[in-house]
Symmetry: C2
Subunit: 107 residues, 2 copies
DNA sequence: TAATTAACTTACTTTATGTAAGCAAGTATA
DNA sequence: TATACTTGCTTACATAAAGTAAGTTAATTA
Protein backbone atom coordinates (compact mmCIF):
# COMPACT_ATOMS: atom_id res chain seq x y z
CA UNK A 1 0.00 0.00 0.00
CA UNK A 2 3.02 2.21 -0.58
CA UNK A 3 4.02 4.73 -3.20
CA UNK A 4 0.76 6.49 -3.81
CA UNK A 5 2.73 9.68 -4.39
CA UNK A 6 3.70 10.97 -7.84
CA UNK A 7 7.03 9.30 -8.66
CA UNK A 8 8.36 12.31 -10.59
CA UNK A 9 7.67 14.60 -7.67
CA UNK A 10 9.40 12.11 -5.44
CA UNK A 11 12.42 12.10 -7.72
CA UNK A 12 12.55 15.90 -7.74
CA UNK A 13 12.30 15.93 -3.98
CA UNK A 14 14.96 13.26 -3.62
CA UNK A 15 17.36 15.60 -5.39
CA UNK A 16 16.35 18.85 -3.71
CA UNK A 17 15.90 17.33 -0.30
CA UNK A 18 19.50 16.36 0.22
CA UNK A 19 21.07 18.66 2.72
CA UNK A 20 22.77 21.68 1.13
CA UNK A 21 21.62 20.92 -2.41
CA UNK A 22 19.05 23.69 -2.61
CA UNK A 23 21.39 26.25 -1.11
CA UNK A 24 24.13 25.27 -3.57
CA UNK A 25 21.76 25.74 -6.51
CA UNK A 26 20.49 29.00 -5.03
CA UNK A 27 24.06 30.27 -4.89
CA UNK A 28 24.82 29.20 -8.44
CA UNK A 29 21.73 31.03 -9.72
CA UNK A 30 23.77 34.17 -8.99
CA UNK A 31 26.41 33.00 -11.46
CA UNK A 32 29.24 30.53 -11.56
CA UNK A 33 31.33 30.14 -8.45
CA UNK A 34 34.46 28.48 -7.22
CA UNK A 35 34.56 25.68 -4.70
CA UNK A 36 35.73 27.80 -1.81
CA UNK A 37 33.22 30.54 -2.57
CA UNK A 38 30.28 28.16 -2.28
CA UNK A 39 31.86 26.61 0.78
CA UNK A 40 32.15 29.86 2.68
CA UNK A 41 28.93 31.47 1.51
CA UNK A 42 26.61 28.70 2.66
CA UNK A 43 28.79 27.15 5.37
CA UNK A 44 28.85 23.61 4.04
CA UNK A 45 31.86 21.42 4.77
CA UNK A 46 34.27 20.66 1.92
CA UNK A 47 33.62 16.98 2.31
CA UNK A 48 29.90 17.28 1.68
CA UNK A 49 30.22 20.04 -0.92
CA UNK A 50 32.51 17.84 -2.98
CA UNK A 51 29.97 15.02 -2.73
CA UNK A 52 27.00 17.21 -3.65
CA UNK A 53 28.70 18.81 -6.63
CA UNK A 54 29.45 15.37 -8.01
CA UNK A 55 25.84 14.28 -7.52
CA UNK A 56 24.56 17.44 -9.18
CA UNK A 57 26.94 16.92 -12.10
CA UNK A 58 25.61 13.40 -12.54
CA UNK A 59 22.07 14.74 -12.50
CA UNK A 60 23.03 17.22 -15.22
CA UNK A 61 22.23 20.18 -13.03
CA UNK A 62 25.75 21.52 -12.51
CA UNK A 63 28.82 21.69 -14.75
CA UNK A 64 32.41 21.84 -13.61
CA UNK A 65 34.61 23.99 -15.84
CA UNK A 66 38.38 23.89 -15.66
CA UNK A 67 40.14 27.01 -16.92
CA UNK A 68 43.69 26.16 -17.78
CA UNK A 69 45.36 29.20 -16.34
CA UNK A 70 48.15 29.20 -13.80
CA UNK A 71 47.09 28.49 -11.24
CA UNK A 72 44.24 26.49 -12.69
CA UNK A 73 40.79 27.92 -11.98
CA UNK A 74 37.79 25.68 -11.48
CA UNK A 75 34.27 27.02 -11.62
CA UNK A 76 30.87 25.47 -11.04
CA UNK A 77 27.79 26.67 -12.82
CA UNK A 78 24.24 25.59 -13.63
CA UNK A 79 23.17 23.84 -16.80
CA UNK A 80 19.85 24.73 -18.45
CA UNK A 81 18.31 21.99 -16.40
CA UNK A 82 19.76 23.61 -13.30
CA UNK A 83 18.56 27.07 -14.30
CA UNK A 84 15.09 25.67 -14.84
CA UNK A 85 14.83 25.28 -11.09
CA UNK A 86 14.75 29.05 -10.64
CA UNK A 87 10.94 29.42 -10.57
CA UNK A 88 10.72 26.80 -7.84
CA UNK A 89 13.40 28.46 -5.74
CA UNK A 90 11.79 31.85 -6.34
CA UNK A 91 8.54 30.52 -4.92
CA UNK A 92 10.33 29.18 -1.87
CA UNK A 93 11.92 32.60 -1.47
CA UNK A 94 8.48 34.20 -1.72
CA UNK A 95 7.18 31.91 0.98
CA UNK A 96 10.22 32.72 3.08
CA UNK A 97 9.26 36.40 2.85
CA UNK A 98 5.52 36.11 3.42
CA UNK A 99 4.15 32.72 4.50
CA UNK A 100 6.93 31.99 6.91
CA UNK A 101 6.02 35.00 9.03
CA UNK A 102 2.47 33.83 9.68
CA UNK A 103 1.82 32.78 13.21
CA UNK A 104 -1.83 31.86 12.78
CA UNK A 105 -2.61 28.38 14.00
CA UNK A 106 -6.06 28.60 12.50
CA UNK A 107 -6.91 25.83 10.09
CA UNK B 1 33.16 35.32 5.58
CA UNK B 2 30.11 33.12 6.14
CA UNK B 3 26.39 33.60 5.83
CA UNK B 4 26.18 35.72 2.74
CA UNK B 5 22.92 33.99 1.93
CA UNK B 6 19.48 35.41 2.73
CA UNK B 7 18.66 34.30 6.28
CA UNK B 8 14.91 33.98 5.60
CA UNK B 9 15.57 31.72 2.65
CA UNK B 10 17.90 29.70 4.79
CA UNK B 11 15.20 29.35 7.44
CA UNK B 12 12.67 28.22 4.84
CA UNK B 13 15.15 25.72 3.49
CA UNK B 14 16.02 24.46 6.95
CA UNK B 15 12.37 23.50 7.37
CA UNK B 16 11.75 22.09 3.92
CA UNK B 17 15.11 20.41 3.62
CA UNK B 18 14.58 17.96 6.42
CA UNK B 19 14.01 14.54 4.99
CA UNK B 20 10.32 13.73 4.45
CA UNK B 21 9.04 17.18 5.39
CA UNK B 22 8.16 18.24 1.87
CA UNK B 23 6.49 14.95 1.06
CA UNK B 24 4.44 15.16 4.26
CA UNK B 25 3.24 18.64 3.36
CA UNK B 26 2.56 17.54 -0.21
CA UNK B 27 0.35 14.76 1.11
CA UNK B 28 -1.51 17.05 3.46
CA UNK B 29 -2.25 19.47 0.62
CA UNK B 30 -4.70 16.78 -0.54
CA UNK B 31 -6.58 17.10 2.73
CA UNK B 32 -6.18 16.02 6.32
CA UNK B 33 -4.81 12.55 6.94
CA UNK B 34 -4.22 10.08 9.70
CA UNK B 35 -0.82 9.01 10.94
CA UNK B 36 -0.86 5.63 9.27
CA UNK B 37 -2.11 7.07 5.99
CA UNK B 38 0.84 9.43 5.72
CA UNK B 39 3.17 6.68 6.84
CA UNK B 40 2.13 4.25 4.13
CA UNK B 41 1.65 6.75 1.32
CA UNK B 42 5.13 8.22 1.44
CA UNK B 43 6.98 5.30 3.06
CA UNK B 44 8.42 7.17 6.02
CA UNK B 45 9.09 5.28 9.23
CA UNK B 46 6.81 5.90 12.18
CA UNK B 47 9.70 7.05 14.27
CA UNK B 48 10.62 9.87 11.92
CA UNK B 49 7.03 10.73 10.99
CA UNK B 50 6.23 11.26 14.63
CA UNK B 51 9.26 13.52 14.97
CA UNK B 52 8.46 15.52 11.83
CA UNK B 53 4.83 16.07 12.68
CA UNK B 54 5.89 17.48 16.05
CA UNK B 55 8.40 19.80 14.36
CA UNK B 56 5.81 20.94 11.85
CA UNK B 57 3.32 21.59 14.62
CA UNK B 58 5.88 23.74 16.42
CA UNK B 59 6.48 25.67 13.20
CA UNK B 60 2.75 26.28 12.93
CA UNK B 61 2.52 24.44 9.63
CA UNK B 62 0.53 21.41 10.75
CA UNK B 63 -2.27 20.93 13.28
CA UNK B 64 -3.10 17.75 15.10
CA UNK B 65 -6.82 17.30 15.70
CA UNK B 66 -8.19 14.75 18.12
CA UNK B 67 -11.75 13.64 17.47
CA UNK B 68 -13.20 12.16 20.59
CA UNK B 69 -14.98 9.21 19.09
CA UNK B 70 -14.47 5.60 20.05
CA UNK B 71 -11.93 4.70 19.02
CA UNK B 72 -10.38 8.12 19.08
CA UNK B 73 -9.50 9.49 15.66
CA UNK B 74 -6.47 11.69 15.16
CA UNK B 75 -5.97 13.70 12.02
CA UNK B 76 -3.22 15.93 10.77
CA UNK B 77 -3.87 18.89 8.51
CA UNK B 78 -2.22 22.07 7.28
CA UNK B 79 -2.66 25.49 8.83
CA UNK B 80 -2.93 28.57 6.61
CA UNK B 81 0.81 28.89 6.92
CA UNK B 82 1.14 25.32 5.73
CA UNK B 83 -1.29 25.86 2.84
CA UNK B 84 0.72 28.89 1.79
CA UNK B 85 3.47 26.52 0.72
CA UNK B 86 1.32 25.23 -2.13
CA UNK B 87 2.70 27.57 -4.83
CA UNK B 88 6.23 26.50 -4.00
CA UNK B 89 5.38 22.81 -4.13
CA UNK B 90 3.43 23.37 -7.35
CA UNK B 91 6.56 24.84 -8.93
CA UNK B 92 8.62 21.89 -7.82
CA UNK B 93 5.99 19.63 -9.34
CA UNK B 94 6.20 21.62 -12.57
CA UNK B 95 9.95 21.20 -12.61
CA UNK B 96 9.51 17.49 -11.91
CA UNK B 97 7.34 17.28 -15.04
CA UNK B 98 9.43 19.40 -17.39
CA UNK B 99 12.88 20.47 -16.24
CA UNK B 100 13.77 17.16 -14.69
CA UNK B 101 13.52 15.42 -18.07
CA UNK B 102 16.16 17.62 -19.70
CA UNK B 103 19.37 15.81 -20.48
CA UNK B 104 21.19 18.77 -22.01
CA UNK B 105 24.54 19.38 -20.42
CA UNK B 106 24.85 22.63 -22.28
CA UNK B 107 25.49 25.67 -20.10
C1' DT C 1 -10.04 -15.40 24.01
C1' DA C 2 -6.88 -14.32 20.38
C1' DA C 3 -5.65 -11.46 16.84
C1' DT C 4 -5.72 -6.85 14.81
C1' DT C 5 -5.55 -1.74 14.37
C1' DA C 6 -4.04 3.08 15.39
C1' DA C 7 -0.76 5.99 17.13
C1' DC C 8 2.95 6.13 19.00
C1' DT C 9 7.65 5.14 21.78
C1' DT C 10 11.97 2.71 22.80
C1' DA C 11 16.23 0.34 21.82
C1' DC C 12 19.44 -0.69 18.59
C1' DT C 13 21.78 -0.51 13.76
C1' DT C 14 23.07 1.83 9.74
C1' DT C 15 23.82 5.91 7.10
C1' DA C 16 24.82 10.80 6.62
C1' DT C 17 27.16 14.66 8.05
C1' DG C 18 30.69 17.28 10.58
C1' DT C 19 35.57 18.00 11.96
C1' DA C 20 40.05 18.09 11.27
C1' DA C 21 44.04 16.88 9.10
C1' DG C 22 46.54 15.88 4.81
C1' DC C 23 47.93 16.47 -0.04
C1' DA C 24 49.48 18.42 -4.63
C1' DA C 25 50.42 22.34 -7.16
C1' DG C 26 51.22 26.82 -7.28
C1' DT C 27 51.94 31.85 -4.99
C1' DA C 28 53.51 35.21 -1.93
C1' DT C 29 56.43 36.62 1.89
C1' DA C 30 60.80 37.00 4.72
C1' DT D 1 65.82 29.88 -0.41
C1' DA D 2 62.79 28.47 3.12
C1' DT D 3 58.28 29.20 5.14
C1' DA D 4 53.73 30.03 5.04
C1' DC D 5 49.51 30.32 2.55
C1' DT D 6 45.79 29.25 -1.12
C1' DT D 7 42.70 26.22 -3.89
C1' DG D 8 40.36 22.07 -4.56
C1' DC D 9 40.04 18.35 -3.02
C1' DT D 10 40.39 13.41 -0.19
C1' DT D 11 40.86 10.53 3.99
C1' DA D 12 40.04 9.05 8.68
C1' DC D 13 37.48 9.40 12.51
C1' DA D 14 33.39 11.27 15.61
C1' DT D 15 28.73 12.56 16.06
C1' DA D 16 24.01 13.16 14.57
C1' DA D 17 20.10 11.59 11.94
C1' DA D 18 17.39 8.05 9.99
C1' DG D 19 15.96 3.12 9.43
C1' DT D 20 14.35 -1.29 11.62
C1' DA D 21 11.96 -3.85 14.59
C1' DA D 22 9.78 -4.72 18.66
C1' DG D 23 6.82 -2.99 22.45
C1' DT D 24 2.80 -0.18 24.49
C1' DT D 25 -2.01 1.27 25.32
C1' DA D 26 -6.63 1.28 24.26
C1' DA D 27 -10.19 -0.25 21.70
C1' DT D 28 -12.32 -3.75 17.84
C1' DT D 29 -13.25 -7.65 15.36
C1' DA D 30 -13.24 -12.77 14.58
Amino acid sequence: MDQLICPRFEKAISIMNKRWTTLIIYQLLEGSQRFCEIESSIGVSGRVLSERLKDLEKEGIVIRSVYDETPVRIEYSLTNKGESLKPALDQIQKWAETGLKQVSNSP
